[in-house]
Symmetry: C2
Subunit: 346 residues, 2 copies
């Protein structure tokens, strides 16, 4: 059995979506057990309303937590003051080995801070980045860091690359992932000292033959995230977060324009009706719910961050990612790879 602690109260939609997501995930995965962490009266009411089958209900346990960390709470305050919050209690369950992994849709800053504080990084890891998938022309590109660390040294970027390749392989079944370092041009001379240094480290890493399972392709540009040229794109949390939100912003702009133009007059409305299956397929293929579940990699345990506004479908996907990460022994593989890499590090 894989046991996952689910922070039920956090996220924009809270227990309303988390409880149905939990039932969905249990239905999909007979080897899964869930601990729903939050206010019991709310969870129980939602469970009674959903009335799951007994066999399902037995793989589900409610763990009480009285507080909720809000999206506006500062990470430090969240650590210090909200020790009985659903996020903290869920993470504590993992530390106490009462759960194998934690999934939360809550405040990213607080989750990053509490996960680092309670679960700690692996010995070799300096910072744990957040990694998620975004659609590309051929499938998915995994990007890290998406905002856990606003700065990264060259050595940290090298570690992000190694960890990112392992997540792509172990969790997302990408054989021999191609890893690229985000820069403002593909030419060797481009970029600042930090990406230049990281590039040298990654070249050495690629040449060392210790990581035959991954390929380092060098510098990539923002546009390459979407072409399928690479499987993993490595950058610092500031740049990664800007890229992710830019991506979401452009997609929103284009879909807004399509919506307003398709409803502009009666001929365009007719065209919209006929185009509905096409538009549905396109938006479905780019649907962020399909790739929800960002892994915080480099910690001693598996932590998965769900999008704040994730609905039940998206949340169930994040739970499945956490379960896969546990079963494929992600943490052990990351540790082994970084231990093997340690002598080469500065």
């Amino acid at each position: 059995m894989t046991v996952i602690a689910l922070d039920v109260m956090s996220g924009d939609l809270g227990a309303q979506e988390c409880v149905p997501a939990a039932l969905c995930a249990l239905q999909d995965d007979p080897l899964l057990e869930l601990k729903l962490v939050g206010q019991p009266e709310i969870i129980d009411a939602l469970l009674s309303a959903a009335a799951p089958a007994g066999a399902l209900r037995r793989r589900l346990q409610v763990v009480p937590a009285s507080e909720i960390i809000l999206m506006t709470d500062a990470p430090r305050e969240a650590i210090r003051r909200k020790k009985d919050s659903s996020m903290r209690v869920a993470i504590d369950l993992v530390r106490e080995a009462r759960a194998d992994a934690v999934v939360s849709a809550g405040n990213t800053g607080a989750l990053t801070a509490i996960a680092h504080f309670v679960l700690k990084c692996l010995a070799e890891v300096e910072r744990a980045p957040i990694m998620s998938a975004v659609p590309n022309a051929a499938g998915y590109t995994h990007i890290l860091d998406l905002g856990a660390n606003v700065r990264a040294t060259a050595h940290q970027l090298e570690q992000f690359a190694i960890m990112g390749a392992i997540v792509a392989r172990d969790v997302h079944d990408t054989q021999r992932p191609r890893v690229g370092l985000l820069n403002i041009g593909a030419e060797e001379s481009k970029g600042h000292d930090l990406v230049q240094e990281a590039h040298v480290l990654l070249r050495a890493w690629a040449d060392s033959h210790r990581h035959r399972d991954f390929e380092y392709v060098g510098f990539v540009e923002g546009g390459d995230i979407f072409t399928g040229k690479v499987d993993v794109v490595v950058t610092d949390g500031f740049t990664g977060n800007v890229a992710l939100k830019t991506m979401e912003g452009v997609a929103g702009l284009i879909s807004g324009r399509l919506r307003s133009e398709f409803t502009a007059n009666w001929t365009s409305k007719l065209a919209a009706i006929l185009s509905r299956p096409v538009l549905k397929r396109v938006s479905g293929s780019l649907d962020p719910r399909r790739y929800n579940g960002a892994v915080m990699v480099g910690l001693r345990k598996v932590v998965v961050k769900s999008h704040g506004n994730a609905d039940r479908v998206a949340l169930a996907r994040a739970i499945a990612i956490a379960a896969t990460a546990v079963r494929r022994e992600l943490v052990t593989h990351v540790q082994q790879a970084l231990e093997a890499d340690a002598p080469a590090a500065p």
Copy 2:
């Protein structure tokens, strides 16, 4: 008369598009004079083929330059070795006051380096950023720096904000531009030390009442580039370049998906025919050609960078932007604003 030196040979499409663009620009603007810089035999052949009216032809002069700076040329080598290149000769014309501004679709790194080397920054300016417009839900957002400087100090970001607001006002007619600083969250506590410092400088700048014409709205996120929340987004050249290319990449991914889904079967092909006007309006409203022409601001003269693959329509737009910048006395206004700001600077 406004005289613009046009680097005819650079860019992916070269003289083939530059010469028709020049004729277009002259047609649109009777107070414009152009100096076409490049290989005379090529330019003359294209001019003969186009056979412009005599009145138009008289506002056009060919200035010979034997070399071409390639997209692959390193900036330093371009400065040192290609002194008779079309880009260099065009910039020299501006330095010698034989032209008021220069427009080039060539190698960004080389253009940045040669423009800085030959024309120099204004006394108060440390680095000249590149600024361009991208579409948002309501009109356009201007972003800088898009890649002229891979790093920027807090003081440089402050200068980018001031210069960006002036370009938005003087060249793009945005009254009282709202300026935002790109970060990974809108909350005051977010981001690294550098954006935090720049934020303090910009708050002070906004409070100083010396720049009543602009408004500083604080931190914005990647998604805010497209909502119309601000008119100017300020960031360093690394982040700005990644955001720009990410934006282009996503737009390409979505239009690729639409194309393939609209041609998937006969019903979708029928829907495509009916949707053609809608899709044309959407892609037209997002057409990068409509906002071509990035101003390199902070130099002693007006320099406008066109997209490398710009066609005649896009190039004519870049020429028009350069002419507007000259007529609105952009350089003088930038100088005055930074002189006024100088005492407050660290």
